[in-house]
Symmetry: D2
Subunit: 272 residues, 4 copies
């Protein structure tokens, strides 16, 4: 074979398999999205089109990869939970991380026009991704609580900040100074007293981020629970390819995932 | 801080920095491109539009990341050489691999219509990527020789195979059987005697793949060398952002990179 | 500083911290112990002095490192369980593996004469070690079951093999052939019918290996349980350095660790 | 097989092979040797017996492992260079690091009485070890220069410090204060003016550490070079097992390894 004398270079490709028996969390983040959102005139503090495009790409990714059970998105980042027993690509770390990041990116660009019909994409956006292993269920719960708590903190800040700028006439520097050192209740007070905004009425999508969950059809979830914690269900997509495979739906919610309710109603997320 | 009690989950993110002082090769491959090329009716054995789109995405990637000195592409794969001293993202492995894969994918989808104006993209394509470290210059030379030798072997096979099918009227099963066990000279003989094709006249792009090289302007390359080994230069793009930064061009060639000439004319590729 | 221009070489020392929240198992094996046991005329199939020396070294290691909760030894290998929350040396993999291997080796050579008063050590013996991470309690249970099942299989084979050779007058080649393809009950039958040996009367040390367990004094273990599963307690060593630190004993047992009893009586081994 | 249902636990043993084509440096350090040297009344600032025991253990290690070409020791640490093409244990990192550390430790304890005939070993000493990969020859040169420069700095400090204490009657606190902020020439001045010690006459073993080098017999080294850079050769041990294997000697020197001479005379150390 003409190439065989060079084939030794493959020996430098070292294995990078992930530890078995651990939950895999895949998180991706927009690369240089501050500039990207400016260039494409994203609305502040939240651009509904941009968030829905993120959700759309995430949903496509979960349809493509049945090992992903859950997604959580806020702003330009998304986290995904792969089931503990996932054996895709023999759990090779780089293979999984690059392929998931690639597909998400691809879907984001592919569906751009569906969500931004009047805003041409000016250049190719990109994302970086990483995998993190969590040995125990509690770690997974705490990981997603961490992200949703972060969503809350960021959205509270941004909502108040942009109210001060857009409605209060402050410069961004002034708004920064106004908010420096304030706690949550003070920001809510500013919003209410100066701008008549009741923060608890801000859409849950903005306050709680997006939750995409793969639910089994054969073991239907108590939907009342979901409503109970404030989730609004959008466009459940059913997948019924093959009777021998598990039947599931993929739903986008905007509900609390810190408290127990969400998880108690979906024990399949953590128990293989 | 509301989220602080969950922040311990970050401790599960383990460092993955690449060994310093080594050449980094990044290779990406199309995921499920057999199906993708069928669905989008790629011409066989080579689809010029698809190859040019790969080159275009690769070129965009090299414009985005100055640490990439060289690219080599064939079919649905591309390899890139990062300079030995590259310190992007503190040489964090997953960060680099996912970001480069993501940007390439994004550029591929973004520029699809430039190359396939009459073929709508039917679904989001994706790629996987990996990083391999090579300690010595000779390893890098042998890596790229390996890929170009592979290009040669694959193209010789595919060219003969599809001639047998498209012009010779064989089924794909028959063509497979006809070629089984044949060596290079026998395939050339089939091409010439049965189809009047002189393999050495097949375009170099198909026989040698695509070479994208970052050349320094301040140390201009002897272009006669490049012509000498059969390279055809397309659309050199100059980058002149800032006088304090190195000035370079990025060129797409289709030339031999196994022999010494290419490398002797570009010693900056291997010597930092 | 005279050496500072060379200090950059430290940047090649890459981090290798173990994933938090996982059980750490450390296993060491004698290196070239077939030759070592021949050179020092170890008794076959089991040399009590050699096994007690292994246990002694293991016990010293557990006294030295409070993070080790459990040890299991057979022949020239020993496995140790470190508690899930162990943070020794910041969970740096090479540091832990080399230090534990080194101390065990050191204690083995140091105590040689206590166990082999009439056999001078002819050359320095050595061991290799490795760390394996187990995310779940069941993995840990199965790991130690794997080792104890292995002990059983090996000892059954060796006991019968050496009876055939030492008492039956077979050559080692003949004994190998005699045992080829036999199952457990057939070996027991050979032992009993030809050599009058009731395998179940073979000392538990040989049939079950050695179990070294760190038990908390403040929560005394139900000793009846231990007796119940056949464990014989040797020389419990109490450690009472400091009232503020946990008080524990380290005991050597030769009992079943596959069934539940051992673990139910020692829930501190798996629950931090 | 009785144990087979547990054998899945082996899948948690992940590969850890070292990148091929790189120089491997193995460094080990005494664990808690401050206490160990106190307990065994090591002479200050240098205990000749302790240093010779370290050299002895290192020499045994190099005799055991032909892939080790060079050793450098000071105080309670030793570094070893394995050849770039070394393939021992398939370059598995933990296997190599633990085995080398174990053997060194074993030899240290085994030979203790040869060097400390009047000082019984009070407890088992231990060492930790680590592997570092260096891609280029210059990195290896700089690594060993780093260690020898460190030897010089430490020995200069310790020699002066203990002169102040042992001959100058200062307390250790006073000696610390006396030396604070002093540079090399000032320490030499203190030694000479107060204690009549010419630092350049301090034995090279203390000023330069120990160098153990594997020299090929078939390509005899120019011994005049070695003398020329001040090395004193002790007891060269020749190894002539097998005519088909390379013939070499292992020598202990106390010479400069920062300048070029040492390396020019031994090009086999860096060129496979």
């Amino acid at each position: 074979m003409a190439g065989s004398k060079y084939a030794y270079v493959r020996r430098f490709e070292l294995p990078d398999n992930l530890l078995p028996g651990t939950h895999i969390v895949f998180r991706l983040d927009g690369h240089a999205f501050h500039k990207f959102s400016d260039e494409h005139a994203f609305a502040k503090p939240n651009d509904l089109r941009a968030l829905e495009l993120m959700d759309h790409a995430a949903q496509r990714l979960m349809e493509e990869h049945p090992d992903i059970l859950l997604g959580f998105g806020e702003s330009d980042e998304y986290s995904f939970l792969l089931k503990k027993s996932a054996s895709l690509y023999n759990r090779r770390s780089a293979k999984i991380a690059t392929l998931l990041t690639s597909f998400f990116t691809s879907a984001y660009v592919y569906h751009w026009r569906d969500h931004f019909p009047d805003t041409p994409l000016r250049y190719p956006p990109s994302f970086d991704g990483r995998l993190v292993l969590y040995p125990a269920n509690q770690h997974v719960r705490d990981y997603f609580s961490w992200r949703q708590a972060d969503t809350h903190i960021n959205n509270m800040y941004n909502t108040t900040f942009w109210a001060l700028v857009q409605q209060g006439g402050e410069t961004t520097t002034q708004a920064d100074a106004t908010l420096k050192g304030t706690i949550s209740s003070q920001k809510q007070e500013i919003l209410f007293s100066r701008f008549g905004v009741n923060y608890s009425k801000v859409p849950e999508r903005f306050r709680k981020g997006s939750v995409i969950v793969r639910d089994l059809i054969s073991e239907p979830q108590p939907e009342s629970n979901v409503e109970g914690d404030g989730g609004h269900t959008h466009s459940p997509r059913k997948k019924r390819k093959d009777k021998s495979k598990p039947q599931y739906t993929i739903q986008i919610l905007h509900c609390d995932i810190i408290k127990d309710d969400f998880w108690l109603a979906r024990q399949h997320l953590l128990e293989d």
